[in-house]
Symmetry: D2
Subunit: 408 residues, 4 copies
């Protein structure tokens, strides 16, 4: 969509970056190595509490979700894995699902247990006052670890909707202790090399308190569990005004950043297309990731996952745009002039330091990203290519009968 | 639940209030005249976007909803009317529904059109770019006006979920003009004596912008429509930190306060039990209402309606508690010492003025409210009496078969 | 700072825009006609309630403030006017100040009365319970109108710190009436051609309620005063999560947008450099302004003013950066492909519409802005040129003795 | 101010509580043992960034501040200690200040270093890029520890204004490391029995990021320092919507709650009279404290301190009201029916559990608190007694000449 002649724009940009001393080949290598995992549930119908708008061609089973995810990978070149959700993606034979994924050039990524859609979980899952419910919840965690072992997934990605709606409803402290006990059992069951990511969320669906409401609550749990327990940062799960990039930097500094759920929000947990509300914030998060790598932090342990919930926009195209915005944000962070930045910081030159970041942010990196995608055998113009491919029309006509999958 | 001997507590309170010069008989008369409307949809199942937890005994049709609402009225004495939602409460014969309500000592209150649960409304209803969809939406408004005329309801209570999710998606200005055109047609169709209330909402289910996002947007529409168009204030529909009582006072001063949707929230539009998160705010809203009546504002045109969405708590009991908290807040506002307050304000005595309100707020008015309920033939202890009545057990066993009603 | 060869980058950009059908000459003409007013108080010392950090070379009188402002104009080419604050900029002979400004190629812009720094205003100015204080406040408004008449300024820019800190402290309604009475007297005193802008602010320095807390409160006042009363939008004066561009569009649609106070914020009214926290929001505001001009709205009546309060950054350079970010945001809004956008909206193509804006936003317009500044006889690289000019060193050494000006 | 006959109201309340099984003598004993520390700086002038309104009779030195604080203790009976701020309360001879305090029945409480009002700290204190500034900051910490040792204070209460205003200005991670290094040196210098409290703050005076922005950031520092480093919770230092009582409960559970700075806020860090915006929240915090004591948590290590900044209200009276509201909140928390609450929680009876808290909250405990104050030899009606005492008139006439103390 930047239009014009790609090669001319690319050469102009490359020349400009090289004059500033940026190693453009190195930047491109980093961009080729970038990976983003998309979530199976984003390909099914989803919506708000008021209405789920069904869309034509939506998958009717986990296999069709992988087909759709493969389209995102085909056009972007950096999305070969798919996070699955149990029981939404429950199948009789996970080996069959993994093989099918492999046949598409894809693989199964993080395993996401579901502990919020059973009648039993009305007052909590691993925090529930009733030991029977906690047993059931823990068993589900164990089941998901077993699935992960079977399909070769090394990440258990846990989000707990647990919380209360009214003051007094339950004891904050006892709920912490109950959760810890359940998680310890699950942690102990994980094979070596598997990690447990603990997501936090400021509010919703619990309205008075959420047991893991912020990164501090998740981090405390992780500290008690062990070093393969890490915090998962979902961009939409913070109080308004929170500096998310600072949290990212802190967790990286503590070696406790397990991964991201990328999406965008204006007010609540809106689960919009990544970067669509404040793209500058997304850039600043990537600046921290690039900086951490420079410092030698273990960024290889960070899982980059998208978690968005399309309400009105076409699902596959919405996902492609999110991936592109992650790619462009990373590219901008990669062209930051660190020498200049560090010099400005050292000399207390506030405005020069700020302008170093602004300079990188304002750089139109789209030609660079397009060329990188071509290098990967994907599309210079992913949205245009996807629209032209006829895939949407094909699935809309072929996926007749059956029940569309939904995230609820 | 205050416990102890009601009569002794009541006499102690009455004596204390009279010593301060409060006309306790007058206060009781006001409390007996208080009316609160409950919403039919609160008796059906509801929930969050993640899960709706069904409950035993939930109504399977509008008639059963009225039966449940009659329980709330039976125990509180001040809730004889029920707001209905079309099409959730659609029946073949509204006369039959009205008669049935009458047989229970109840009546139909405000009519609430639904313009957010049809596939056509994915991008808006009265604001939709496509004139066909706007026609459909307007026809539904006209239908609801006709139903209102049939059942003798004088309030059309309109909430528009209309908005956009992404910057650029549609034109703010054109959407305003489209909405105004549709509302003008509906307004013109209202019989004399019928009012149109325009609710606003800060966010959700639209995430980038909501067409009627705040009281200013609603008020501008009302000004263009006529003096029977008024603003509806839902307590959960404001930005964090908003001074809601100031909005209430301003709208009363402009004769544009049409009514309330009472509920409580901590962060989003949580639709919790009224007064459960910040009871002091609820008290301050009632202080403005009492003050407005003192000034001669038309408080008779204010509709007091509850709009809550029970997620985990029993529906009828939750509603009873909300009604009691409205009653207690009103009672506290009625025992404000206005002479002292005005004197403190005039002399710029900030702390004395504040403490006059604190004094009223801290007063334990529960004995007074219990006595008033007895005077009305309702229950001194509504929750206890309802629990003891066996109604819950009765409907849980009788309402077998059929499909429970839900708000979606 | 984009680096590289300006002409090459400019030609590449120009070519790309023209291929998309953008009239680049027209865009440049608009950019040359852009005007931004800087505030005299931003050149003096300012800070937070905790500390004001004084800076070397800060002006000691209004004349030196104009000298500094002239530097901003010299390097940006679009800032010939300066908003003044009474009494901070009080001088014996306003004619002399105006002449001095003229000698620098500058002029006096909006007049800002001060109604918050006198002991008398502790409980309010035009809303104060005591008529003597209201008289004093109104007299100050009249004095400022007279100053405006003398110096040929056509804008009275009013911000009221009025509000209360505690529930009960004063009556919302009586305060509204008192304010209206005072403003009516001031409005009547304005010569034809003079406008009164009413700023609103969500909170601070009043903490329980602010009399003009949102655009709705200001608009109601303006409606009662007359069509030369308009609302002023300060970007930092909204609740978190507010869609400011929607407010801008609505006020333009009602012909009630009087002007802006540009700055940036993350949480409170941080008064940071424009565009430094969410540059995408700034772009979207300019999109509405460009769209309004396309529709024929009276954008000529919109005053574009900066109101920032430098805490730690050098004042003149901070101001230059703010002006550049306003220029770049406007430039991006001017390269929106409206035909494509309207087509996407009409066909309900949500993602295409969003991407049209993204395409304009991601365009690196810096070469275009640099060329425009050259056309205006200003600096291609304003920050670099200002730093190289030696002005900072000059004033730091020359402005010895006397008392630095401060905004308090 | 509840009015009426105190003894009659007290007997009625006592009877009602005893019928519910509350040990009223035990409650009174707890209330007599309650302690609240007031801050020396609240007796001096303070204000917003826009204006500090001076008040008659304000202290001109630390000794006069202790005189004023002694008035608060005289009328409430529970405020014998005063937090001091260095250098605001710097004196040549701390022994003399301590003796003077003793002669008033008072003592010196927590020591508060000031690391935000020196020119050197513009870009940070213990986080500053320049080692010279960090040395200076650390030396001040050491100085304050020495003062604490001299006056027998066992608490160092640290608040860091450190942060940045612009993205890129400095490195989050390097600042963490610099802070930790400085704090380690200070921690090591503390005598046994002295504790270091680390306050966090969501925003202000830094606007882009604050180094200790939330409880998680403070807790991580404390964990690295040792078990005499604990977190200090200031009620005004959280993002909107934060559940503060949950944080309190969590820190108590981790034995890391060092103390409170009590105040109230609606939006920012408004530093209003305690309990004046959401008294229900204050009650819920005390419920957690009472619950923690029941569980055997070390609540004896919690320092209860007020930190408010009076803008428009008289200082001593404002402080008295804050202390009363803390007393009343504690009293309400002490009459919670824990047996009933635990039973309701165990049986998943959400509404019963909520109503147990509501029952305690709605109880008008003022007669009980008045009697407790009488038992302590203080005033049944502290505000009335203070107003009648003539103290305000006395200091207004006596404290002529000299410079009023201010917090800046």
């Amino acid at each position: 969509m930047p239009g014009g002649d790609l090669d001319r724009s690319y050469q102009e940009l490359r020349g400009r970056l090289e004059e500033k001393g940026i190693d453009v080949d190195g930047v491109e290598a980093k961009l080729r190595a970038q990976r983003v995992e998309t979530p199976s549930w984003a390909y099914g119908n989803s919506g708000t509490r008021f209405k789920v708008f069904p869309q034509p061609g939506v998958p009717r089973n986990p296999f069709e979700k992988f087909e759709d995810a493969a389209q995102v990978h085909r056009h972007t070149g950096i999305c070969p894995s798919v996070a699955v959700h149990i029981p939404w993606d429950k199948v009789d034979d996970y080996g069959e699902l993994a093989s099918f994924a492999g046949s598409l050039g894809m693989r199964i990524g993080a395993i996401n247990p579901n502990l919020f859609q059973d009648e039993d979980y009305k007052l909590g899952s691993v925090t529930h006052p009733d030991p029977r419910v906690r047993r059931k919840a823990t068993d589900h965690l164990l089941e998901c670890i077993e699935i992960g072992r079977q399909v070769g997934s090394d990440i258990q990605s846990l989000w707990f909707a647990d919380g209360t709606n009214y003051a007094g409803q339950d004891s904050f402290v006892e709920r912490r202790h109950r959760m810890l006990e359940c998680l310890r059992e699950a942690y102990a069951a994980m094979p070596e090399g598997m990690r447990m990511l603990l997501e936090y969320k400021f509010y919703e669906p619990a309205f008075y308190h959420t047991d893991l409401a912020d990164w501090g609550q998740s981090l405390l749990m992780c500290q008690k569990l062990g070093d393969r327990a890490q915090v998962l940062v979902d961009l939409g799960h913070h109080a308004l005004g929170t500096n998310v990039e600072q949290i990212v930097a802190t967790l990286l500094d503590e070696d406790r950043l397990g991964g991201f759920h990328f999406n965008a929000r204006r007010y609540g947990d809106d689960d919009l297309i990544v970067g669509s509300t404040n793209p500058f914030e997304l850039f600043l998060i990537y600046v921290e990731l690039v900086d951490a790598e420079r410092r030698g932090a273990r960024v290889d342990r960070v899982a980059y996952m998208i978690d968005q919930s399309h309400n009105i926009e076409p699902k596959i195209e919405g996902m492609i745009i999110s991936v592109m915005q992650l790619q462009e944000s990373y590219a901008r962070a990669l062209v930051v002039d660190w020498r200049e930045l560090e010099d400005a910081r050292r000399s207390g030159d506030v405005l020069r330091a700020y302008r170093v970041l602004q300079d990188a942010y304002q750089t139109d990196v789209r030609p660079l990203c397009a060329v990188v995608r071509q290098q990967l055998g994907a599309s210079a113009d992913p949205v245009g290519a996807f629209r032209a491919s006829g895939y949407m029309e094909k699935i809309a006509s072929e996926r007749q009968g059956g029940v569309q999958m939904s995230w609820t």
